[in-house]
Amino acid sequence: MKEFDHWDEQEHADLTEDEKQILDDLGLQGSTRRKFLKQVSAASLSLWAASTFSSTLLAHPMKETPTKPAFLQNEVAVSFSVNGETHQLNLDSRTSLLDALREHLGLTGSKKGCDHGQCGACTVMINGKRKLSCLTLAATCESHEVTTIEGLAKNGNMHPMQQAFLKHDGFQCGYCTPGQICSSVALLKEAEEGEASYVTEDFRKISSNLELSEEEIRERMSGNICRCGAYNNIVQAFREVHSGKEEMPSWEFATEEQMKKAKNA
């Protein structure tokens, strides 16, 4: 047990001040903190925390919200709701929704990968449908409801899909993760409503609550590219939430016995 504690402290010592702060903010102390750390690799902690928790919960908004430029070309006024909060912005007509979220509202969860519709990192939900914020002009969003990764956690509780991604290690660098999770959440609803895909066997027979095979999940998630190749774990995470049945993670934590053995080897 002693050695095990020691290993834990080691892990802890690797944490940056910011990461320690995050854990404090979460109210995690002592043994709960250790238990939690066992579930999250330290390397992914800050990325995960920053992208999955609502910024209010963590009270970590961007330190400097960008100031309004002195001069805007073809200024458009647009008012839309983001994660339930209405925002009124004056923007250059060229501003994409992605840039408006990141640069003007400080919501940096949605990521800019390719900026050309090819990677899915910028996926958000607009009026309940998953869309690409990089190819959406912010000006077109008047009166629309946008949900980003920051809006998925409710009252400090992660969305089940966020929990499942964590549990199944559905990410490595985490860059694609917010888009992956937004896509997965939207996909739950698409399956419920019986939307077909190219690989759906016979969609002439309309049905709701589609049971998704692995092939279906892969086809439907294909718009979200993961450079780290975390696909297998993403599929597993999705399956668990979709079926409501617990899936086995493809990895497991070392037991104390194993840790001891490893140390003594």
């Binding site: 073809n74 994409s96 190819l135 002009l137 000006a139 895909s197 190219y198 002439r204």
Partner: protein, 328 residues
Amino acid sequence: MRPFQYTKAETAQAALQAQATQTSYLGGGTNLVDLMKEDVARPERLIDVSSLQYDQVSSNENGGLSLGAMMSNAETANHVDIRKKYPLLSMAMLSAATPQIRNMATNGGNLLQRTRCPYFFETSMPCNKREPGSGCGARNGMNALHAIFGYSDSCIATHPSDMCVALAAIGAQVEVIGENGKSRKIDFSDFHRLPGDQPEKDTVLEAGELITAIHLDAPVFADNYYYLKIRERSSYAFALISVAAGFQLNGGTITKAGLAMGGVAHKPWKLREAEKFLKGKAPKLEHFEQAAEIEMAEAKPFKDNEYKVEMGKKAIVRALTQAYERTA
């Protein structure tokens, strides 16, 4: 991206009145915004038409259904009546792009999406379609993705849409309204152009015309249909070659066949000879093979896309075979 003025049209009339040169309509933006970021498209004004009320499926006088031009590709492909009565169209649309893009893309915008010829996207390269008179980078360049039918000296690009290939096989008309507010209908097979010496013009649309609907002919091929899309990876890629195949059977003979190919020409390529050949024949492998031979005999490939000839034949046979195996 260059600066532009943005307005949202509340009515078709307003969209048309606002029409002027250097103005583009904006549907879902999945193609236009992308091309603006690449500096290939340079409109000075954008008129957002995406929330105009042409967003329904309704019955039409052909005995078929009409698709609102502003309806999304996802809604169209998943519409109960489209899935039941025009499954070939649903299948083709579901093979395109990704769920996110299909949620954004409109039916009107899909018809007018531009070629994916890499020279067209790269502004440092010559391209007659992007910049008339500048030359064609692809003709003697890398042309693995280019046309084998119907091209000209000035352009050998292909049309990238999957939806349009199915529409060509099924039969449809495109309804548009012009600046005077009058509407006209264009037969789908006349809507897209071959490049000739004006490759910058993809369609027969006049400046300022707005697409309002796509009218489908009476339902066909609801039982025997298949959209085969061959691509470099199994999902989320444009077609190297695609085939929309449908036929109707009566007592063991084909009474009507609808066949079109994507990825082979400047427009969705209707396989008229194969359609004619199959009519009155039994749906047998040897007939499928003969139909494919007849059609592909006219192909004239370039140095990098010779593979498309053999692939095209196999794709036609495969799509017809799959369509046959669908029989309920």
